[in-house]
């Protein structure tokens, strides 16, 4: 305890010295080093895969000006601090930490290295050299819900969730509101698997939902198992799927209707450019369709042409700010009005969402 404090104080002192503009700016030609910390292996689909796609896109767009490296499968907690600190010591000038659980470690290292810039995904702690970013995944979910509402035959959608945290709740509620907006009889059933990644359980959950009558399947977990389960049952039961994180058409060539895909590349390019041009200001970025941070996965040919048109129009409406997935009245499952008519839910309220909206049939586990 004590010597950690001491180390911090020393580092803080060093940081003070370093922050005075003693060091001349490096020659413009030398590429700056950028480091990424990933919570899971890159793999072929999912949360980390999308971040790595973004990293590659940014590196290609800013060729010559940057070099990047990543460290994958870094557990959240004390280990993460060591890795982030190592990256900073190695002279990485921008460090992206891409999991919520890195928040305190990133903040700690950011305080010790004031000359490097830290960007933390999904967190809420900001500082002079510490920014945060996230995407409005719920906008895509809403449109997925509209398609589900129009195309369902059983009026039941199944949703495989990892943990009931606000980000997942936003997705479930936006999907439900989208579905209900075009199909008042629709209901959404949720199964929590209590794991971000357990293909076996995710598959069982999807299969359970299908056997209970859901013909629309989506998930907020990291593997492709739910989409694969829908693909398997597509012939027999007419099950459709919406992918999440990545486009999973490879795993559900017939069953996948579309999905909500994370796109980090444009954001990474923009923010790194801002840093290169010395225009970056520490702040929170929460971007959606408008900022190109999410996209719909390619729309399946199975979606009728007029519905396709509606979806594209709605996407344009969300982009322009004319349509908000949580426009009032927002009524929760117990009938309580959360947002009055004529207002949109605030970002702060969305960030603290811990209830189901009307239309979700399952009951939220009380913690």
């Amino acid at each position: 305890m004590n010597h950690r404090k001491l180390a911090l104080a020393t580092l803080g002192g060093a940081a003070l010295l370093a922050s005075t503009p003693l060091m001349g700016a490096p020659p413009a030609a030398a590429p700056i080093k950028i480091g990424y910390v990933y919570v899971s292996p890159v793999g072929d689909a999912g949360w980390t895969f999308q971040h790595d796609q973004g990293r590659k896109q940014m590196e290609a767009a800013l060729q010559g000006a940057v070099t990047t490296k990543f460290i994958e499968n870094v557990p959240e907690g004390a280990d993460a601090e060591r890795i982030i600190r190592q990256l900073a010591q190695d002279g990485n000038q921008i460090i992206f930490t891409t999991s919520f659980g890195y928040m305190n470690q990133t903040a700690k290292v950011a305080a010790a290295f004031p000359n490097a810039i830290f960007l933390h995904a999904t967190g809420y702690k900001q500082g002079k050299n510490l920014g945060t970013y996230n995407a409005r995944f719920y906008e895509g979910r809403y449109l997925n819900g509209v398609i589900a509402g129009k195309m369902t035959k059983t009026n039941i959608a199944g949703y495989v969730g990892a943990f009931p945290i606000p980000e997942v709740m936003q997705g479930i509620n936006a999907f439900t509101r989208g579905m209900k907006s075009v199909n008042p009889k629709a209901e959404v059933r949720v199964i929590w698997v209590n794991s971000w990644f357990d293909p076996g359980k995710e598959r069982e959950a999807a299969m359970t939902l299908i056997s209970q009558g859901a013909d629309m399947i989506t998930h907020h977990t990291d593997s492709t198992a739910a989409v694969q389960a829908a693909e398997e049952k597509h012939k027999e039961k007419g099950t459709w799927a919406f992918s999440y994180h990545s486009d999973m058409a490879k795993y559900g060539p017939t069953a996948q209707l579309t999905g909500t895909t994370h796109i980090w590349g444009d954001f990474y390019t923009k923010v790194v450019k801002e840093v290169l041009d010395k225009k970056w200001k520490g702040t929170h970025v929460w971007g959606g369709f408008k900022d190109g941070m999410i996209k719909l996965a390619p729309l399946s040919p199975a979606i009728p042409a007029d519905l396709k048109k509606t979806i594209l129009r709605m996407e344009a409406d969300i982009t322009a700010g004319r349509l908000h997935p949580f426009a009032g009245p927002v009524v929760d499952q117990d009938g309580k009005e959360r947002v009055p008519k004529g207002q949109n839910m605030t970002d702060a309220d969305m960030g603290a969402m811990n209830y189901y909206v009307q239309g979700v049939a399952s009951t939220l586990p009380k913690s």
């Binding site: 292996p41 793999g43 072929d44 199944g158 009931p164 209901e187 059933r189 949720v190 199964i191 929590w192 698997v193 209590n194 794991s195 990644f197 357990d198 293909p199 076996g200 359980k201 598959r203 069982e204 959950a205 299969m207 359970t208 939902l209 056997s211 209970q212 859901a214 593997s223 492709t224 198992a225 694969q228 398997e232 490879k250 795993y251 049939a361 399952s362 009951t363 939220l364 586990p365 009380k366 913690s367």
Partner: protein
């Protein structure tokens, strides 16, 4: 709806329990010979990736199972070398094998992450699969499900009705006596370890080729450890391994059905998910209250190395 509901739960329970049965029976035989191999998680992982790779390249799930079996045997051979020939600590060797296997499978599997296998059609047994409720769950399953049932009977017969099984148990109870009357203790233990590895490999193959036809790092997700605890749960009796595996699978599936039914039951999902583990501990405690049952069935020399000329 009611019968359909029961049928689906039953079907999913049996599928979820199958890899546990296969792996646990392999470990049971290994432990009956007096060797504690904690490497099941790693062995399953390597078996899963080997089976997936071969099934992908050849298009044959059966060859995939064979590959999983071979890979599992290779992994257990490593364990045997360390724990039986070099007489390293069995617990440490097994744990090391688990960690090594999980890492090795991730390394081998890197290039298979983007591949999806076609799902394999179940084998329907003529006539029987038409029986209402029970038919689809019991008689329209993957081949390995039937294999797991045959395996239970075969292991039970082998251990308690065959001469070779008697010798194996003798080696597990008292290697010194078995050695004294001329049985090759190390040789028999090697065979038991190889059998355990083969079964763990097949269990892994079931996961990657049949259960979720894909490969992803970490997909075994702790099932190897559950299989290990099932052996103790079953007090080293093959029949009870089956009960335990289905109990475990059943709890997991039932909690999902409750969640997905839309029934307004406000039980935290975390609690529902923990039921199988709680059930395991409760049964473990109940069984252990009678110290006789544990002592009667647990191999006396479990975990102790044997030096032939000591």
């Amino acid at each position: 709806m009611g019968l359909d509901f029961i049928s689906s739960i039953l079907f999913a329970t049996i599928v979820a329990g199958t890899p546990l049965i296969i792996v646990a029976l392999g470990e049971l035989v290994t432990e009956k010979s007096g060797v504690l191999n904690l490497g099941a998680e790693g062995t399953m992982s390597v078996g899963a990736v080997a089976a997936f790779a071969v099934a992908h390249h050849t298009g044959s799930p059966a060859l995939g199972i064979l590959a999983g079996m071979g890979a599992g045997m290779f992994m257990s051979l490593l364990f045997g070398l360390s724990a039986l020939t070099l007489m390293a600590n069995q617990v440490a060797s097994g744990l090391a094998l688990s960690i090594f296997g999980v890492g090795l499978s991730a390394f081998i599997g890197k290039s298979y992450e983007s591949v999806a296998l076609a799902s394999v059609d179940p084998i329907r047994i003529p006539w029987l699969h038409r029986i209402p409720v029970l038919g689809p769950s019991l008689f329209a399953q993957q081949g390995l499900v039937y294999f797991s049932w045959i395996l239970i009977a075969a292991v039970a017969w082998f251990l308690y009705r065959s001469r070779a099984g008697l010798v194996l148990r003798a080696v597990g109870e008292s290697p010194v006596s078995a050695h004294a009357i001329g049985h090759g203790v190390v040789r028999i233990r090697y065979q038991a370890v190889l059998f355990g590895g083969a079964m763990a490999g097949i269990g892994g193959a079931f996961l990657s080729v049949f259960y979720t036809p894909m490969w992803a790092e970490g997909m075994v997700a702790g099932r190897g450890w559950i299989a290990l605890s099932l052996v103790v749960f079953a007090t080293w009796r093959p029949g009870r391994v089956m009960i335990g595996a289905y109990l475990f699978g059943g709890c997991m599936i039932t909690q999902m059905f409750v969640q997905g039914s839309g029934a307004r039951i406000a039980i935290p999902a975390q609690f529902l998910s923990s039921i199988p583990y709680v059930a395991t501990i409760v049964v473990l405690v109940l069984i252990s209250r009678n110290r006789g049952t544990i002592r009667l069935n647990s191999p006396a020399s479990l975990g102790q190395p044997f030096l032939p000329d000591a």
